[in-house]
Assembly symmetry: C2
Homo-oligomer: 193 residues x 2
Amino acid sequence: MTKEKLTQFFQSMGPISAAQAEDIAIAFVPKTIAKHDFLLRAGKVSDDYLFLDSGFMRAFAYDTDGNDVTTGFYASGQIVFEVASFFNRTPSQEYIQALTDCQGWSITHQQLNALFHARPEFREFGRSVLVRGYAALKSRMLALITEPAAARYESLLHASPEILQHAPLKTVASYLGITDTSLSRIRKGPTAK
Amino acid sequence: MTKEKLTQFFQSMGPISAAQAEDIAIAFVPKTIAKHDFLLRAGKVSDDYLFLDSGFMRAFAYDTDGNDVTTGFYASGQIVFEVASFFNRTPSQEYIQALTDCQGWSITHQQLNALFHARPEFREFGRSVLVRGYAALKSRMLALITEPAAARYESLLHASPEILQHAPLKTVASYLGITDTSLSRIRKGPTAK
DNA sequence: GCATTTTCTTGCCATTTGGCAAGCCGCGCC
DNA sequence: GGCGCGGCTTGCCAAATGGCAAGAAAATGC
């Protein structure tokens, strides 16, 4: 695995030169996670800021009744980490697990902060990652409130069809805010009366 | 209006001395918004990073059917701005409106960036604001998926009872992800059969 | 102070979604 | 090849929520 996708990603998020990107990438170390293994477990402090090079992951939490609820899916080309735990150095409420074998590039909180300190252009990158995630979450929230379950499923299908290939239906359902039963019916098609 | 609450807020969010806080506060200018007036309108680029000193505000968007949906409430002591528009310099999808007469301290994007550049300690503050908002949104999202409407209403009632004093029920209902009719029934109490 | 407009409640009924349980299918394992 | 198990579907019915409309109550404007 080369650092090509990683440096490309840095450059795609803002005004960073190829040389700078390679310099920054030096601090990232390779990380492999086997299917079903965890990048983060609840109770631990997240210390991986991971660029996912290949594979799929999901984040989930348990609600008060013990049901697991998917809070996010991650495809390659994204940064995977639990924001609050990582930046506030507090125990995570969530788990992050590999849906398939995964490979990526990781950096610790301390090292990332050192980079932010040393490289002003990279700070911009860090902020963009946060802002992008925040905005995506807002838009998911709005959809959850304004769109019916079937429309939310269609959107996901268009945005990331690959997810459906790798995550069991139950997992996708809780991400959409419905039960696996309902999702199964939605997939069947328009409720023929 | 003095800058006391503003400097207190800086200090409460991280390791910033009183002297530093006052220095930073110099760049913030007072802003008054009359009840029903807008801090931000859809289509405009947000250029106010506002510390709300007194009053209540709400953010909302229109869904595809033209219904307005409350995306957030803000009480005094919070930073009010639209993350994506402000940092990406893109037109806002949302409106931010005063529910009551409001007073606060505002800074432009350019000035804020200058502060982040000049003051490392303040960068930490900026990140905390983002992370806090992000985490709050995640937790709202989880509640929306896992908790029934009545429980979400109860939580809001405990967390910010003042909001109910200033926002019409319809506004609160869309924030909770339900209709005003349902919220009215929920408030009536346990559905006595 | 009165008229107008908004906000809130409520009844009636439709729609959406959930809960449960049975059955089916596919796949790995011995 | 047969067994077991997780994952998906489906029927039946219950619960939660919505849509509409009428009327009461409260706020607003002049």
